[in-house]
């Protein structure tokens, strides 16, 4: 098998050993989280899938499902996280990945993520599920998570070629030193923090087989297309019923009645949600003002 090392994993021994240790920790009902960080396209999700495949094989489960419609072990964005947690518990999976999947382009997503993670670890510790989290930069994680000693291992991906990627491992104590240097250095030199802190180990991971790589691409594109659509709507300046109601300070039902009365047609419909352009907002605003004056 060209996609695996001789000891049966797609990543080198240093990571394998530490994953086994984390699994043992989770079995003892201790909270544990593995953070995978690296720039866009370095293979964070690929490595997460490989780790999950290894854990699944250890616990007698099949490989991770990469179907865009059904993917219990990969939560694309904060909304899916708790749902996936429950699914994993019901189906007996021992590992779950939170993939940011473009989530961070949304305002307030980081706060939501931190809140969700804190809540999840307080509530679901007894579920004995190891959480892997893929982020572009681990320093956005809440200090409360670090105070509670939940992130135990940082896998920092530095480089990726056509066939393999390179990673460095950092323990919680080293992570805290990295955070110290992140705070101390300015934005331009922040990445130097990694050269100030000695990693605990380093290693490589191989790419997924072409078929699974395609499946993973489809899945991550599906997660990101939702975000892309939302961004497109924002750029075009379109309004949904909900947004019109909020902007006009009237009820949702009131907007619907007015739109029907004025026989206004929507310009776009995405995921069964109707969108109207800016002129509709102006038209409705004028109508409401007139109604107010006639009363």
């Amino acid at each position: 098998m060209g996609y695996l090392y001789e000891y049966g994993t797609a990543f080198t021994k240093s990571l394998k050993k530490n994953i086994d240790i984390q699994l043992e920790r989770v079995e003892n009902k201790r909270a544990s989280m593995i953070v995978i960080d690296g720039a866009v396209g370095t293979g964070k999700t690929t490595l997460a899938v490989e780790i999950m495949d290894y854990i699944n094989s250890k616990t007698g489960k099949d490989k991770v499902i990469l179907n865009p419609k059904e993917h219990p072990q990969i939560a694309l964005g904060g909304k899916e996280f708790i749902g996936c947690f429950n699914k994993c518990y019901k189906e007996g999976y021992k590992v779950l990945t939170y993939d940011e999947g473009g989530d961070f382009s949304k305002r307030g997503a980081i706060t939501k993520l931190n809140r969700t993670l804190n809540r999840a670890f307080e509530t679901y510790r007894g579920f004995k599920i190891l959480v892997i989290i893929c982020l572009p930069n681990f320093s956005i994680l809440d200090s409360l998570l670090f105070e509670n000693e939940i992130p135990r291992l940082l896998v920092h991906i530095t480089d990726r070629s056509k066939y393999q990627g390179e990673y460095f491992l950092y323990s919680l104590s080293q992570m805290n030193w990295l955070r110290y240097w992140f705070n101390k250095l300015n934005v331009a030199t922040r990445k130097k923090a990694f050269s100030y802190v000695l990693p605990n180990a380093k290693g490589h991971f191989k790419n997924l087989p072409p078929m699974r790589e395609k499946e993973l691409d489809k899945l991550s594109t599906a997660g990101k297309s939702k975000v892309w659509k939302e961004t497109e709507i924002q750029l075009e300046g379109l309004y949904s019923y909900k947004e019109l109601a909020k902007a006009l300070n009237i009820t949702h039902q009131h907007v619907r009645t007015k739109v029907n009365k004025l026989k206004i047609k929507h310009v776009r419909m995405i995921d069964r949600v109707k969108y109207f352009d800016k002129s509709v907002f102006d038209k409705l605003n004028d109508t409401l003002r007139k109604d107010k004056n006639t009363r």
């Binding site: 240093s14 050993k17 530490n18 240790i21 984390q22 920790r25 000693e149 135990r152 291992l153 491992l169 950092y170 323990s171 919680l172 104590s173 080293q174 605990n200 180990a201």
Partner: protein, 138 residues
């Protein structure tokens, strides 16, 4: 201990001064042992008096430690015979005996961390949980 000659008020701990004195004595002993071995190799019968006195002065320093640690009757007996040979010139020391005493002195100095330099704790850093534990994380 304040060094008034140096016009400094920063004191040096007594323990540090004792350690330095022991190291000085150990250095002298090793030098004397070298001379003794050299003469022995040249087939001349070297005088043991200086060597014995050097061993003796270091042994006196370490005697309280030895009395605390070596409590069995055999150990006590061995120590007393060595002291007699060294201080009361009862018999000449055999070369193997000299080596034994010097090695024991070195061992004690190492145990007392006077000559031990490899004090860094060694553990498997590639095991992140071991590293976390060593750094005080649970």
């Amino acid at each position: 201990m304040v060094n008034f000659e140096n016009e400094t008020t920063v004191s040096t701990p007594a323990g540090d001064i004792v350690k330095i004195l022991w190291l000085q004595k150990r250095e002298d002993l090793h030098n004397e042992l070298e001379k003794y071995n050299k003469l022995k190799a040249l087939s001349t019968e070297p005088e043991q008096a200086v060597l014995k006195s050097k061993i003796g002065s270091l042994l006196i320093e370490l005697l309280p430690y030895l009395e605390r640690k070596q409590t069995t009757p055999e150990q006590k007996e061995k120590r007393e015979s060595q002291i007699k040979k060294i201080f009361f010139n009862e018999d000449e020391l055999e070369p193997s005996e000299i080596l034994d005493i010097v090695l024991e002195i070195n061992k004690i100095l190492d145990e007392l961390r006077v000559t031990r330099i490899d004090t860094r704790v060694r553990y498997d850093r590639s095991n992140v949980e071991e590293d976390n534990r060593r750094q005080g994380y649970s």
